[in-house]
Symmetry: C2
Subunit: 328 residues, 2 copies
Amino acid sequence: MGVTVKDVARSAGVSTATVSRVINGDSRISGETRKRVLQCIAELGYKINNIARSLKTNKTYTVGFICPELPNSFFMNIAKGVEDELKKHGYSMIICNSNESAEQERERIDLLLEKCIDGVIIIPASDEGMHYNRFKEMNIPVVLADRLTEDFVSDSVLVDNVNGAYSAVEHLINNGERRIGYIGGDLRLTTARERDEGFRRAMRDYCIPIDESLMKYGDFHIDSGYEKMKELMELDEPPRYVFISNYFMHIGATKFLFEKREQLKSHITIASFDDIDLSSILGFCRILVGQPVMDIGSKTAQLLLSRINGEELSFPQIIRLKTHLTIL
Amino acid sequence: MGVTVKDVARSAGVSTATVSRVINGDSRISGETRKRVLQCIAELGYKINNIARSLKTNKTYTVGFICPELPNSFFMNIAKGVEDELKKHGYSMIICNSNESAEQERERIDLLLEKCIDGVIIIPASDEGMHYNRFKEMNIPVVLADRLTEDFVSDSVLVDNVNGAYSAVEHLINNGERRIGYIGGDLRLTTARERDEGFRRAMRDYCIPIDESLMKYGDFHIDSGYEKMKELMELDEPPRYVFISNYFMHIGATKFLFEKREQLKSHITIASFDDIDLSSILGFCRILVGQPVMDIGSKTAQLLLSRINGEELSFPQIIRLKTHLTIL
DNA sequence: CTTTTTTGTGCATACGATTACATTTATATA
DNA sequence: TATATAAATGTAATCGTATGCACAAAAAAG
């Protein structure tokens, strides 16, 4: 600790410039000198001080990751993909929890702006994105993951929600069912909106009029899944097939069905978005729309790194990954 | 962007030293000057460059967080507690995934050491901790969360696993059952070991001989929970009560029971560690040992910050938080 | 009305690296 | 052999901030 380029330089009998060049792999250094310097580095246990380096180079090899919730397997699978990809390139990631609030998102942005990050990945907390412009102003590349925002055009990586939902619903219809219940998310989220569109489009394409009393809107959380399924089941004539547009509402809905399984008039079949952790063990589920979650993460990271490295790409890059249907 | 103390100083007609002092709240600056400087800062849109500051002060206001798995609600609840607490103090956190491997843990440590962090929180991937010494050598405080390690003595925050397990098992026994199945984790993890001890101690205290054929050891993951429950149920005389020592194995075990529910000879009751997300909706569960997960996080962060700020505390600080029993 | 203390600022250096430019030495070319 | 070119290294400035020390002015003490 405390050994600097100067010490190495002195010990190797060269200038600090030479030491620096060896460290940075400058090809002009003679094999002779390089060897000597490397030896001294090893002997003295020299470790580069990246703070100092960053000051000169204006690069921190650190990116921010803002996400609406930490204990959320969906987001964390994305995070995992990101972290993995970043690590390959020597980058690390500062994680920030926006708690699904644009307000807190702003606070975290303040924090991140102070840290001189090279780029930032955001899973938007809402459809507001104006405040992301502060990164743009500082010339810090931004890539959105999973969701888009209304007012902030940006590189993004997400899945084809419309077709994902469409294919699931289509499959239900092909099973011979026309009365299909729906539990969706807050339409201010693009993901919720797109899945909603997929649902409606499938129904329209099969000439099934939409019964709005079967359309329930929650907030993508467990409790609301429970609540909305309850509402559906308390209808005079509950649907026997239900499409649920995310994982957590699926869990909640299942919880309700499980608790009331004795009172159910008929067997319920669920089709749901997100094939993670327990989806497949939730008893009523037969159809799952799987998202390539880790891929979202790694693609996002790759895109960000491209921007950071100033690669020429048209703007905005919007990468849509395909979902895949699993029938249980 | 590009505006530095120098610009502010020139604009306010003072020296950079004065500007710096205003920024850092030095009380010796006259109200007059302070006001003028602050005004110029606002007008010019000056933002401090924390890299430069860190170079001088040797503080980055950043800590590392190494954890065995990102998509894991237990760890992420801890992370949330940490992030929350850190944020209050202006710190941010670099998150690293060790993938439950000491090997990868080492790689992440390399990465973190290069980043000049002020401290690090580790949820150990295994019982090896020798490599954590590298932080100690650099004088970087370390706090372990949730688990201890064999060979690295350290400040730590964890729960009273022994008594947590004990009380759950005790409750089963008080229900009148003496044949109790057990699905535990890899004994190389302190958490697994302690819960094992709790189980055995309760049995001993109630004078119930332990039937080793009912003791199954998995690895804290879903699949092994499934597997071990299968083994238990395939015994000639399966236990009707089972204690499971973590969340994920609980899920796996439930999955098995759910799939085979028609073939079960009798009703199964589960007592399990960890009261998160779905524990309570898993059909066979009646007893849950809840951990104060977010508290683990915030306490860990608090302890780390104390060390970073050089507060006088005896070493090591081992904080044990109490679990609480929930009967469903 | 000195002398001492306090208060408010400025000067200059340091933090630890990178890098443009200058310089030396070796090699190739005429 | 003289000169042009290339290769290897050194010199010194720079990145943006913090801070010990010096110093002047103002306030307090004598």
